[in-house]
């Protein structure tokens, strides 16, 4: 049993973890940077330690100071949230060396999925379909041969990338020639690993992911799917559950595939298996597996009634799953809008500044996960997410109406936000009819002025 958990994160997810701990009667320790002293979770935690200056590399990624805080506070475990140290196998090892539980997968499963090329291979071996692609490139020749066989467009991916980072779309031989060396250089700069590979690009794909929950005894279930097709430059903006474009038969097949992928690496805790789905052929392909709690986990919580962060902590405490696959029912429909401090009119550029005033939505079927307060500053050091608004209704129509109302209620003064974009989307014919694919939003709200 954990008596005390250190939360190695900030913002809404730190608050989300604190809430789960409170309900489990576990004490909490917050770590924060100098500019984050006033965050609600820092105020509410049983103990709080300043671990560094605003720059994330010196605070939220400062492993010695974070481990130091865990040791001084005698914390039993560290919850990494998402981002920062959540997918760092070295950190998992350091926690282990100091007898602190890391709330997440073990080093082996994290590494197996962190390396995108290895993840493809693992999935493929577990019988999960993967997109046609090359092995890690030894010579550029392989990439050209692949493009000739499968046709353009293709996508160059960094082995160490993921979550939309380290990717390049290529449409011709000339572009491929230039892009290969640039992609290698970029991958080396971003991840200190210049290995790349090439995959066939699906242009009108739907991004559908499955939530996995597994205990340490080998029981693995999935909690249904989420459709995250409203994206901009591979960053998700709206997520929903369940997807309206897959049939019950495909859903069962994808769910089974997700469970096999997790089983293949002996996974425990919460995880997400992402797929690309081709509506025209009804075929799905493994994309990647995220070995952490995700930003969009609340949509699954709303439709299944399962508290994912609570289950994640319980699984880490060696407790068994107390539900089986047959006991998972999807009730109604849920939507999540990410409210970022970004200006949709200026190509979604981060809008730095101070929140002077705001109103959060509420009422039936609305949940808000947010850490903002009057005077909260959006600084360049961290991501620009300021709130997640989740709506739940008996069907998609009701969830849409509620979200539309919530976006009408919500306002933020002082910085630009994605609220106008969401208002537009809730009224968008294509979106209402579920015809949005991963490439649809690029051309909206002035976002077509890409480099």
């Amino acid at each position: 049993m954990f008596k005390k958990i250190l939360i190695a994160n900030r913002g809404e997810i730190a608050l989300r973890i604190l809430r789960a701990c409170k309900e489990l009667d576990i004490k909490t320790v917050a770590v924060f940077s100098e500019v984050d002293r006033d965050l609600p979770h820092v105020q509410m935690a049983d103990e709080a330690f300043c671990v560094g200056p605003a720059e994330a590399s010196d605070s939220y990624l400062n492993i010695p100071n974070i481990i130091g805080a865990a040791l001084i506070s005698r914390s039993d475990a560290i919850h990494p949230g998402y981002g920062f140290l959540a997918e760092n196998p070295e950190f998992v090892e350091i926690c282990k060396d100091h007898n602190i539980m890391f709330i997440g997968p073990n080093r082996e499963s994290m590494t197996a999925m962190g390396d995108k090329a290895a993840a493809r291979e693992t999935a493929s071996r577990a019988g999960v379909p993967v997109l046609p692609g090359t092995d890690v490139l030894d010579e550029d020749r392989q990439a050209f041969a692949f493009a000739r066989q499968y046709g353009y467009p293709v996508i160059i991916k960094a082995v160490a990338g993921g979550g939309g980072r380290g990717m390049r779309i290529v449409n011709s031989d000339e572009e491929l020639r230039d892009s290969l060396s640039e992609a290698k250089l970029e991958a080396f700069k971003s991840f200190a690993d210049d290995r790349i590979y090439v995959e066939k690009l699906m242009t009108e794909a739907r991004h559908i992911e499955f939530q996995i929950l597994a205990d340490k005894l080998g029981n693995v279930i999935h909690l249904g799917d989420r459709d995250c097709s409203v994206q901009r430059r591979n960053q998700k903006l709206i997520e929903e559950a369940p997807s309206q474009v897959i049939s019950p038969y495909i859903r069962r097949k994808m769910g089974d595939a997700a469970v096999s992928a997790a089983r293949a690496i002996g996974y425990h805790g919460v995880g997400t298996v992402e797929f690309l789905y081709d509506v025209n052929t009804a075929k799905f392909y493994f994309l990647e597996m995220n070995t952490r709690i995700q930003v969009e986990h609340p949509v699954t919580e709303m439709v299944t009634g399962v508290d994912l962060v609570r289950e994640q902590i319980r699984m880490e405490m060696d407790e068994p799953l107390d539900i089986n696959q047959r006991q998972i029912f999807i009730r109604g429909h849920a939507l999540e809008c990410r409210i970022n401090a970004e200006d949709p009119e200026r190509n979604f550029a981060p809008s730095l500044g101070e929140i002077k005033d705001f109103r959060l939505p509420g009422g039936p079927g609305i949940r808000v996960d947010s850490h903002i307060y009057r005077g909260y500053k959006i600084l360049p050091y961290y991501d620009s997410l300021i709130a997640k608004v989740i709506s739940h209704g008996k069907d998609r129509q009701e969830a849409l109406i509620r979200m539309d109302r919530a976006m009408y209620e919500m306002y933020v003064e002082g910085v630009k936000t994605t609220i106008p974009f969401h208002r537009m989307m809730m009224k968008d014919e294509q979106f209402r009819k579920c015809e949005v694919h991963t490439g649809s939003v690029e051309g909206r709200s002035g976002s077509d002025e890409d480099e």
């Binding site: 100098e34 300043c50 671990v51 560094g52 200056p53 605070s59 100071n65 130091g68 001084i72």
Partner: protein, 163 residues
Amino acid sequence: MKTQTSESEKSGFFGFTAKDEKDFQDCIRFCANELSDIIDVFNSSSLSRLDAGFEGVELGIEKATQGSGGNGNGSELTVSTEEDTFKPVSSKYLGILHLNNEKNSPYVKRGDEVKAGQTLAVVKTMNIMNTIKAPCKGVVSEILGSEGKPVEYGQILFLLKVV
């Protein structure tokens, strides 16, 4: 005791006049807290330099230019009274504070004159010994941390009287 009182009266910050040794310590702690608040506000502002004066006390903060390192806070901080200038020394590390060396004698005592770069204390984190060094030449005016107690990032451990 009498000399103590007169000394603390002389060194009072922000117009505080301390009654005795204990009171003086409290004043220093209060001021150190106030100072870290001022530094926080300053650091998150777009200002690069701040000068302020209150009842015979002068405060000057300047942001370290990029690459020059600074001493933890990213800003250079000094506090001046009419006679003296003080420089707070804070911890860049989170860990257990050791004011004594392996031979169990203190690295520095109050009133000691120290050279720039001299070890004032050690903060032990994950079994790594991180030394806290004097940022400049000065006299140890106050020791604000306690032996064996945890300290966090940015916590002020010493006040040096600049000489």
